[in-house]
């Protein structure tokens, strides 16, 4: 018996090229158990095209979902299809996939160029092709000037961008980015988010995860919300939020004159209350967040009160999850 070098699996016939019309990612009742712990619970999902954000708290199952999609993990139950094939058994769909793990681990002894071009050669590129492709993607992520520096000397944002570059080197149709913004400074975040937006604009299918709502908001409106391994919600982020309109939203303003500003805001038709929780703080309670936000700059300007900060304490994942979970119960 000779080793199964092609890894074509048992009953399935696996083409070298995935079926073109198959959805990029399809999960059918996929569950993943780690012993007694549930990593992913009965998730069904199909994603094709566009930028999709996967939102969830730490431990919600985002990385498990991605690991199952890219074939690192085998689902305990259910079926996963990556371009119509089983990624755990067939490496062929990797031709069309770019995957950035949340893991910080890299080959620190390699230079950025070595890293990307070495891995590019695993797609069957020649040495020269791999090098030029690597230069192309490294330039795309804005690392052209540091390609010959060792990865160990890179900053966190640069490391993330090298990982993104390595995922782009085969010009993939589907790009999966697991927490690409984690641990990056604001400048790196902006750069990476621009890269992701640009990739989306190129027509790639992009799945990006985060536990920070604002980050996802700046990248896409399509979201999938995972909570405790379950698919909690999916759809347009703003639509989801508007669905929760009956739940009051709060806007926190920091100002030296909270009472004066409160008086100015109260007449607005959508504001039904103001509170002063602390010294120098004003909370506006509303049912229509966007309407108030639209008028707020004008009101502040007219009142002439100096405002140092405007925050949406509810505009984060925790509160969104809270609303969604309340809505279910």
């Amino acid at each position: 018996m000779i080793p199964d070098f092609s890894q074509t699996g048992e009953a399935e016939t696996q083409p070298w090229q995935a079926v073109p019309e198959a959805p990029a990612v399809m999960l059918d009742h996929v569950s993943k158990f780690y012993g007694q712990v549930v990593g992913l619970n009965d998730v069904s999902l199909a994603i094709s095209g566009g930028v999709t954000g996967v939102l969830g708290m730490n431990g919600a199952g985002k990385s498990t979902l991605f690991k199952i999609i890219v074939g690192r993990l085998k689902p305990s139950q259910g079926t996963i299809r990556l371009f119509g094939t089983n990624p755990f058994k067939n490496p062929a769909p990797y031709h069309r996939l770019g995957y950035v793990s949340e893991s910080e681990k890299m080959y620190d002894w390699m230079t950025g160029l070595e890293f990307v071009s070495t891995l590019a050669r695993l797609y069957g590129m020649t040495r020269e092709q791999a090098k030029s492709e690597a230069m192309r993607v490294l330039t795309f992520v804005g690392l052209a000037d540091v390609v010959n520096k060792e990865i160990g000397k890179y900053s966190k944002g640069m490391r993330q961008r090298v990982k993104i570059a390595h995922a782009l080197v085969n010009d993939p149709d589907l790009i999966i980015l697991d927490e690409p913004l984690a641990g990056c400074d604001p400048l790196a975040r902006t750069t990476i988010m621009n890269v992701v937006r640009e990739l989306g604009a190129m027509g790639k299918t992009i799945i990006v995860s985060s536990h920070i709502l604002q980050e996802i908001e700046r990248i896409t409106e399509q979201i999938v919300i995972l909570h405790n391994g379950r698919l909690l919600a999916l759809g347009n982020l703003h639509a989801i939020r508007e669905l929760l309109d009956h739940i009051p939203h709060r806007i926190l303003l920091r100002t030296p004159e909270p009472r004066a500003l409160g008086e100015a805001v109260l007449p607005h038709q959508d504001v039904y209350g103001v509170r002063f929780p602390n010294e120098g703080e004003l909370i506006i309670e509303t049912n229509d967040l966007s309407a108030v936000h639209a008028d707020l700059p004008r009101i502040i300007t007219e009142s002439g009160v100096r405002v140092t900060a405007i925050e949406n304490p509810d505009d984060n994942l925790e509160s969104l999850l809270g609303y969604l979970l309340e809505g279910r119960s």
Binding site: P23, G50, G78, S103, A201, A233
Partner: protein, 632 residues
């Protein structure tokens, strides 16, 4: 970043060409994509409808109704294509192989991936401390052993005198061999080639004559020789039959007839009469025994002449083995120094083959099983050459086996190959290699290839250096021992194949259990060491226990090569035994009998096959485990 053309002007977000996120939490569980179920029963959601969507999907998405996955809300949702429907479109999979140019075939891609992974692996080794430590220690050990070897070969080997005729047993300055040739005693320092001697004429109780008297009695003389022979004068004590010394001679007591002092053996009775006991005296007179039954010898004293003592070395290694290498001719050997032919005729054919003074070679199945020499034939060959040859061959065989095969052959894969996949597991970087269009078996095989790309050149370089040193410093007429090249090639082949097999085994252990892989490998290495030591014993080898180890087959390659390259080893071993040399023990330990078959060439081919088979088996096991492993 430049604003992209496709950016939606209203939202500032990129235009999404074909968004379709759908979910069907209610669709029946079906691992196998089944026939499409009733679409209306399955809720699905999608959002962000864009004008660019296909009409059918757009229609389905006309009402962007966001939802949670609450079952209650499902009734208000517009069904779209369900998971099952999507799955149905997946199978049967339309297999359409794209046309590839000849320069871009599967094989060239495999080739590119193989070099990429192997190259990467070697580069990775370069960055690890363990690589340099293992390499440095290996090199140092080899160099150390080589200095011992060179030191040993530079020693002038004292030749062994097997028949003892080079020794001067009686201390008279003449080697025994020369004394035998002259017929003088090798245990009496008064007798040596050219020495003065007593020529016996007869036994008497009383005689009056001019001559030499030897024995016990009374001597009345009118002339006597008072000088003593030079060899007697040279020493301070008296022997039996020595000449009497006239200096300081004591007087015999008056009343005691036959008393003679024991130490001097002589006393004076009168001015012209002495009494002697066990001594020799030369003169003219009457010699009378004390008793009538006590006789003395009479004869004459022959003066000596000068004979040059021969050097001892002339009697060492003077009778070499004269074997013509013809196994069909049992009659071999030749008495080079003539010490057999000088024996009485009756003693010249002690091996009973009817030919005097030869050596009988008994051959069975092309192998010499016994050698029986006649007495004093080929009894003192040049053993220094033999011993040096034995030392050289033993060194290559033992060092090739223990040094390269067992120590380096096990340790280098143990420390460098166990982590081929395991270390990547542990460091969490494995997915970089695996989430690529490359089979895991390929990754495993190419990683092994990378290990070999490092280990093989290193080991071959060490073997080459060792072979050069032993080639130049080893015994032989020529400057370089070209005959050993085949032997070292055998060692190199054995080492390469053994390292390959061990690497596959250790790396497989690392895959089977990343956590305990190193532990498993260590236990297996200890097992292999045990098998290697046991395999050096003939009995354990023949029992076949060690057949279940890589070390046995590797060592058998070296052993078989030794039998094939140095085909006179058996003869050397037998000759060493027959002629009583040292070194036969060393030979016996080094040249193990061919096993499992009696034919070295068969064993060689078998060993190579078994090692390659074991490698393939373990690669297959390793990839089978690897394929099913989740990369967390």
């Amino acid at each position: 970043m430049m604003p992209h053309d496709d950016t939606d002007p209203t939202t500032g977000l990129p235009r999404i060409p074909a968004p379709a996120v759908s979910a069907s939490p209610e669709s029946p569980p079906s691992t196998e994509p089944a026939a499409p179920s009733d679409p209306s029963a399955i809720p699905a959601v999608s959002m962000s409808p864009e004008p660019t969507l296909p009409p059918s999907v757009s229609a389905a998405l006309a009402q962007p109704t966001p939802t949670s996955s609450t079952p209650d809300s499902s009734a208000s949702l517009t069904p779209v294509q369900t998971i099952s429907q999507m799955a149905a479109s997946v199978v049967p999979e339309a297999v359409s192989r794209p046309v590839k140019s000849l320069a871009d075939t599967v094989w060239t891609k495999i080739d590119r991936k193989a070099t990429a992974v192997a190259e990467f692996t070697i580069k990775q080794y370069r960055t690890r401390k363990s690589t340099w430590v293992v390499g440095g220690i290996s090199t140092m050990v080899i160099l150390l052993v080589l200095t011992f070897y060179v030191d040993r070969m530079a020693d002038v080997e004292p030749s062994i005198d097997q028949d003892g005729d080079g020794a001067d047993w009686d201390g008279d300055g003449y080697p025994a061999g020369q004394e035998w040739k002259y017929g003088t005693s090798d245990s009496d320092e008064s007798q040596f080639p050219g020495s003065p001697y007593f020529e016996y004429e007869g036994l008497y109780t009383e005689i009056t004559a001019n001559g030499t008297f030897r024995g016990t009695g009374n001597f009345q003389y009118n002339w006597v020789n008072t000088s003593v022979p030079p060899h007697q004068e040279a020493r301070s004590w008296m022997n039996w039959n020595d000449h009497v010394v006239f200096v300081d001679m004591v007087d015999c007591p008056e009343n005691n007839d036959n008393w003679v002092p024991w130490d001097a053996g002589v006393c004076r009775v009168d001015e012209d009469e002495i009494r002697i006991r066990g001594r020799t005296v030369t003169g003219n007179g009457t010699f009378t025994s004390f008793e009538s039954w006590e006789q003395f010898e009479f004869g004459s004293w022959i003066d000596g002449h000068e004979v040059e003592p021969e050097p001892r070395s002339k009697y060492i290694d003077e009778d070499g083995i004269d074997w013509d290498g013809d196994l069909n001719n049992p009659n071999q050997g030749f008495d080079d120094d003539g010490d057999c032919l000088s024996l009485p005729i009756a003693e010249q054919d002690q091996n009973g083959d009817g030919i005097p003074c030869n050596v009988l070679y008994i051959v069975e199945n092309g192998t010499i099983i016994d050698i029986i020499p006649d007495k004093n034939v080929d009894e003192d060959p040049d053993d220094a050459v033999f011993l040096k040859e034995v030392a050289h061959r033993s060194f290559i065989s033992i060092f090739g086996r223990v040094g390269f095969l067992f120590i380096l052959g096990i340790f280098i894969p143990l420390f460098l190959a166990t982590g081929l996949i395991r270390d990547e597991f542990e460091s969490g970087t494995l997915y970089y290699l695996l989430c690529k269009p490359i089979a895991r078996a390929e990754v495993f095989a190419y990683r092994l290839l990378g290990f070999l790309g490092l280990a093989w050149p290193f080991l071959i370089l060490l073997i080459l250096a060792t072979s050069l040193v032993t080639g130049f410093f080893g015994p032989g007429e020529s400057l370089f021992r070209f005959s050993d090249i085949a032997m070292w090639t055998g060692v190199a082949v054995a080492v390469c194949l053994t390292v390959l097999a061990y690497a596959a085994i250790f790396a497989t252990f690392g895959i089977i259990s990343p956590k305990y892989g190193m532990f498993l490998s260590l236990i297996y290495a200890i097992y292999e060491f045990m098998m290697m030591f046991l395999g050096l014993f003939q009995g354990v080898r023949q029992s076949g226990i060690s057949l279940l180890s890589v070390s046995f087959w590797g060592s058998e390659i070296v052993n078989s090569t030794a039998w094939l390259v140095w085909d006179d080893s058996a003869q050397m071993s037998e000759q060493a035994e027959a002629f009583g040399w040292l070194g036969e023990v060393a030979l016996g330990a080094v040249w193990l009998d061919p096993f499992p078959t009696a034919y070295p060439l068969v064993n060689l081919i078998l060993s190579v096959t078994v090692l390659l088979g074991a490698t393939l088996l373990f690669i297959w096991i390793g990839q089978a485990f690897f394929k099913r492993r989740e990369i967390d």
